[in-house]
């Protein structure tokens, strides 16, 4: 599904290299977790895959089902099936959450040559999915993420994911700022979307999210590279001993 090879990325305006050759392959239906200390490049990887400006890819490639992601505009990547749940969901005053969701859903359908959803069809779908995430009608009416609590913002990300039905989902520290109950709710939302045709890349600092979203593979990222990969037990090792041990071993 997602194949990243030797990806090197620097900041566009500075001589600061952030990713020093990332190799990663996520198969269809798999859940991979990326853990790592602050500043290791985890979030940058998510942003670069989604197409955020400000980064320059100096070497390497990233493919989604064989298509060159890096050559596409961000909206085309989304249409191709990529989704990034933001660590800090963006507030957009003046744009209603419903308008936002419907515009996004229909833009993707249109780009794929599918018929746009009617207002009634859309409303039915969004109500159903919002209910599962305990998102009320009031939250749907408000401007995108404006005045939302941290937990509401993260649930809103998962709602977008549920509505857009991407095949490759990247969750960037979706657990940050969440209490235990909110994390469970978000995890349930994610787990409900798991199926054989959909893959996840879960970026997190902590093992606790992985108690709820069970990964198939865990990667440890440090200084812009994946330094270790393993099964779920790797996350437990980090939880028990911190990153220091693993990093010392690698060096």
């Amino acid at each position: 599904m997602l194949e990243i090879e030797n990806l090197h990325v620097k900041l566009e305006d500075e001589d600061k290299v952030i990713l020093h050759g990332v190799d990663l392959a996520v198969g269809a239906g798999e859940v991979h977790a990326i853990m790592g200390p602050n500043g290791s490049g985890k979030s940058t990887l998510g942003y670069v895959l989604a197409g955020r400006e400000g980064y320059a890819v100096t070497a390497g490639s990233a493919r989604l089902d064989g298509a060159d992601l890096l050559a596409m505009a961000p909206e085309m990547r989304a249409t191709a099936g990529l989704f990034l749940a933001f660590q800090y969901p963006v507030e957009i005053p003046g744009v209603g959450n419903m308008t936002f969701l419907r515009t996004a859903v229909n833009a993707q359908r249109k780009a794929r040559g599918e018929a746009e959803l009617s207002a009634a069809e859309f409303l039915k779908a969004v109500r159903e999915k919002a209910k599962a995430l305990k998102i009320d009608a009031e939250m749907l009416k408000r401007p995108v993420n404006v005045g939302f609590s941290g937990g509401e913002k993260k649930r809103n990300e998962i709602l977008q994911m549920a509505m857009l039905e991407p095949r490759m989902c990247i969750l960037d520290e979706t657990d940050s700022g969440l209490d235990v109950d909110a994390m469970k709710l978000v995890a349930e939302g994610v787990n409900a979307l798991r199926d054989a045709g959909r893959s996840f890349l879960v970026i997190t600092h902590y093992q606790r999210l992985l108690d709820h979203i069970r990964p198939d593979v865990v990667h440890i990222m440090a200084a812009g590279q994946i330094v270790r990969s393993g099964g779920p037990e790797l996350a437990l090792e980090v939880e028990a001993n911190g990153y220091a041990g693993i990093l010392a071993e690698v060096r």
Binding site: G51, P74, E75, R77, F86, V90, L164
Partner: protein
């Protein structure tokens, strides 16, 4: 005080091209009085305090600079607004009054009978010996010349070739819509409207269209106690047109005045509004959305006076500027002694879609009462790159994402329109404009 020689010559040349409308009757006297006011103040130059940001030269020039018609080919089959994608206010049940190049067109207009409203044409009744407007014509304009001179308003009073006198005695059965069409590339339009709402009366006035190569207009609105005046205006899309418009309004106790203007394109537009809250508990809302691409200069000059206690005023002006367009906002709130419990609000903002565009703002507060609440703010900014990426990352194409953010930016002005159908008309018009001008990048 005598004018300096160049100013005197400029004024003589400008006046010389236009004849007074009336030589006898009440209007002749009113126009002579306005001319005297104008002769005392002269026409502005860039050295005048309130013309520093807007060069008045093309408004002063004796002849209107030629302005190409937006869509000459479609004129004959012409919908009400030449060149527009759909007639402005086309879906609104309204009394239509059409001016072509500044002259009333009876054939294109509806019959001027409307329950609750008396409508007369200035050119028709100006020569009479008496009319209700005789005491109104030029009165608010003359008062509005202090403390800041508004010479083009005096010019409109002195030389208006046409206009309407609208007296509202009850609830107007339908909105009155003034559609200003163009046929000529060089026509000059000089218009003066007088509107009086008797106590408790209600009127929605709509205005649309490019009017002329150059429009000079004054509109005086007396809103009586408990009366409500709603005004929604769409200034035409013709690129080379020029306009200097003025609204002078005075509000009685508990009166409501709401005015919204959408300006899309135009080489030069100066919209002045001078509003006095004269009776306690009155409310005045002024809003403007302006979108300009390229050779576009838009100036909102607003003066709101709180002269009575317990009044509320809002000024909400937003401009979206690209490819070297210029926006100007000069807005003032004056709170007179005794106008306690005043609630005044003013916001002027611009969204600059590139570095070649600019926004010049001069917000002013002058307060002579101690128990008031007044706030004002002015900002200039670019499209929020993070929000743009967020939308794109959800599959919304960049141009559509930008349009959505621009509309969100302008939303606060559209919210000032009370009528949902009118607000929707404005919103769809803006969407149309944005889709046509989507090429401009945010970066």
């Amino acid at each position: 005080m005598a004018l300096a020689r160049p100013k005197e010559d400029a004024l003589a040349a400008r006046l010389g091209r236009l004849a007074p409308q009336a030589t006898t009757g009440w209007l002749a006297g009113a126009q002579r009085a306005a001319e005297a006011r104008l002769l005392a103040m002269g026409l502005p130059t860039r050295r005048d305090e309130y013309w520093r940001y807007t060069d008045p030269a093309s408004l002063v020039a004796p002849d209107a600079p030629a302005a190409a018609l937006l869509d000459a080919a479609s004129l004959d089959s012409a919908p009400l607004d030449s060149g527009d994608e759909a007639p402005v206010f086309g879906a609104i049940e309204r009394l239509r009054i059409v001016f072509v190049d500044g002259v009333f067109d009876a054939a294109a207009s509806d019959d001027l009978t409307l329950s609750g409203v008396e409508i007369d044409r200035l050119a028709e009744v100006g020569g009479r010996t008496a009319h209700w407007a005789a005491e109104s014509y030029g009165r608010l304009e003359a008062q509005g010349q202090l403390p800041v001179a508004r010479p083009f308003a005096a010019l409109a009073s002195a030389r208006a070739g046409d206009g309407l006198l609208i007296r509202v005695t009850g609830q107007a059965a339908r909105p009155v819509a003034l559609h200003y069409l163009r046929r000529s590339e060089t026509a000059e339009a000089t218009l003066h409207h007088c509107i009086r709402l008797e106590p408790g009366a209600r009127l929605t006035l709509l205005e649309s269209g490019p009017a002329a190569a150059r429009l000079t207009q004054a509109m005086e609105v007396e809103v009586g106690p408990g009366a409500a005046f709603h005004h929604v205006r769409v200034q035409g899309r013709d690129h080379a047109r020029r306009a200097a418009t003025h609204i002078f309004a005075t509000l009685g106790a508990g009166a409501i005045f709401k005015s919204f203007t959408l300006t899309a394109n135009g080489r030069l537009t100066r919209n002045e509004a001078v509003v006095t809250l004269a009776g306690p508990g009155a409310s005045a809302h002024l809003a403007g959305a302006a979108v300009g691409d390229g050779d576009f200069h838009h100036d909102d000059t607003v003066f709101v006076t709180h002269a009575a206690p317990g009044c509320e005023s809002r000024q909400v002006y937003k401009k979206v500027l690209m490819n070297g367009a210029t926006g100007v906002f000069q807005g003032k709130i004056l709170v007179r002694p005794g106008a306690q419990k005043t609630d005044g609000y003013q916001i002027s903002q611009s969204l600059l879609l590139d570095e070649a565009s600019q926004f010049l703002a001069k917000p002013e507060l002058e307060i002579y009462a101690d128990d008031v609440k007044c706030s004002h703010g002015s900002t200039s900014g670019a499209i929020d790159a993070t929000a743009l990426f967020y939308l794109q990352s959800r599959g919304v194409p960049r141009a559509a994402a930008q349009a959505l953010l621009v509309l969100a930016f302008l939303a606060e002005t559209i919210e000032e329109i009370s009528d949902a159908a009118l607000a929707e008309d404005i919103r769809s018009r803006l969407e149309g404009w944005l889709s046509r001008h989507a090429a401009a990048g945010a970066a």
